[in-house]
Symmetry: C2
Subunit: 320 residues, 2 copies
């Protein structure tokens, strides 16, 4: 069985750990969001790809969900002593090594997809990890307010904690980006496509913004897992992103945002079942099969059950 | 008083610490060798500039004479796990931060002299530290043997421990390099020029190979400190470098190599005094005032005495 997954960072990485357990024989291809990528201190940092790679490769900081385990912070302190900026993005020493190696390979002329594969030879994540594109795409945020100042997504997310509302979120460069080698092929060859509980705007949304990917995905049987439980994002500040695109922070609204032309099935948490029943007749949801189950990925068994439910629903819908 | 010093790495750095103590009121300009510079893992490493900066700035590993104090080696281990090469050049985590910051500023378009000044704002070395040139110069070694394989100086020195003899040592790019801004001015404005006990071939020799520097130095009163004591280099493998240019490993031979057109005074160790007396009539030394004193820089007082002797001799010769 071939499963292709569009992935953001922490939520996707944890979901994938469950999926690998739920479908140990499956060939899993992960298409990672690169819109969060940023050049810091001259080094290329790919937070979402690294979170997936470290999580599946056993090198993640389990408590925080991103960054390396047993990390030290010498370099960060040294760079601060040199008054290097920015000072708001925390990178540990081991993590720096990944960015040094990636930047070295990129400078040697390797495309990001080849670099990601090379880094993966160390981590053996048990999935095929592809960046959505080898072309640079950077998510920028137009801040609300008279100035309309534009900042990199990371600055808004990490430094500003998304406290200033976003008037607009733009995947800069996406319209000119080409899917990385293997991306469209992996979608086309997939038996099913899954959306983990990743941010619908700046993770899944950015991947879908690369020309060709949305259409390829729409042609497949797709099941998504709601990143919203009981009106709140499970993790992160997805509500701030959804507000920027005029979508309510609810499991139903996110499903309607994707729409039946894109997704076939949708998993919501048990506590959102009532809302789904009320809105069951919502024409925006017509054609989307919604199932309710506990969606908190509190441990590997719980996460495996969620992944299995997503996969089972997808296989069921595929037979219809 | 204005003193200009041509400097290699460890020996020069220690000498400079003594000189700063010997002449606390002097304006000291240090012209650092950049021929040892190398790009590792995509980052620009300037071993000699850093050794001077760390030593005078109080951040050096005192035992080994290079690298940072209280260093850790996470990044090195991580890069090895990524199978990044080379694996023969040891860089600590704190040291990496310097190279990251330098590379970032260079990539931003800053010349090495400006970058060195920026890094120095943190270290406050108490001297003005200038790279010999902003243009890339790399010392390469043509290995003896039928192949005549060419390696970077660092590979020969660090990986091969100079065990394979050098047929030739070439400062690649030196002939096209221009002295960095301020270099010729600092030599011209100097009351005296000093050569610390640095490698005569790959440190002092490389600096002198940058067009314009030798002539500017030759016009001044110059006193050098022998890096050879009793037929052996005090530190490092200067003998291997001297052999490559056909110069004996002796204090006298090195003085003769520089020659009276370049240097006016020369300090040798007490144990080399007899040789000097015997060779006192050597025409190659005619015009070079040789003085003997203990030259081992075993601690700061001893080093200060050596620096003071060099300075005193230079001032004396300047008055002649």
């Amino acid at each position: 069985m071939r499963i292709t997954v569009l992935a953001g960072g922490v939520g996707a990485a944890r979901f994938l750990r469950g999926l690998r357990r739920a479908a140990p024989e499956a060939e899993i291809t992960v298409i990672g969001n690169t819109g969060d990528d940023i050049t810091l201190f001259g080094l290329r940092v790919c937070p979402d790809l690294d979170t997936v790679m470290y999580t599946l490769g056993g090198g993640i900081n389990e408590d925080q969900g991103w960054g390396r385990d047993a990390e030290t912070f010498s370099i960060r302190a040294e760079l601060a002593a040199y008054e290097a900026s920015p000072d708001w993005f925390t990178l540990g020493d081991k993590d720096f090594a990944t960015h040094i190696r990636r930047s070295q390979l990129l400078a040697d002329g390797e495309p990001l997809s080849a670099v990601t594969e090379a880094l993966g030879r160390r981590w053996r994540p048990g999935v095929r990890l592809l960046p959505m594109s080898d072309d640079p795409v950077e998510t920028h945020v137009v801040l609300a307010g008279p100035e309309g100042r534009v900042v990199h997504f990371q600055e808004w997310w990490v430094r500003m904690h998304a406290a200033t509302p976003a008037a607009q979120i733009v995947a800069s460069g996406a319209e000119r980006a080409r899917p990385a080698p293997g991306v469209l092929e992996a979608i086309e060859a997939a038996d099913v496509v899954l959306f983990p509980p990743s941010n619908p705007v700046v993770s899944i949304g950015t991947i879908l913004a690369v020309p060709g990917i949305r259409a390829a995905v729409a042609a497949k049987t797709v099941v998504g897992v709601s990143p919203i439980i009981g009106g709140s994002p499970v993790r992160g500040m997805a509500d701030a992103c959804l507000a920027a695109i005029g979508v309510d922070t609810s499991a139903v609204a996110v499903a309607a945002h994707y729409g039946p032309e894109l997704i076939d099935g949708w998993l919501v948490d048990d506590q959102d079942k009532a809302t789904v029943d009320i809105l069951g007749d919502d024409p925006a949801l017509a054609g989307i099969e919604v199932r309710a189950l506990p969606l908190l990925m509190r441990d590997l068994p719980a996460t495996t059950a969620i992944a299995r439910a997503a996969l089972d629903l997808a296989l069921e819908l595929r037979e219809r």
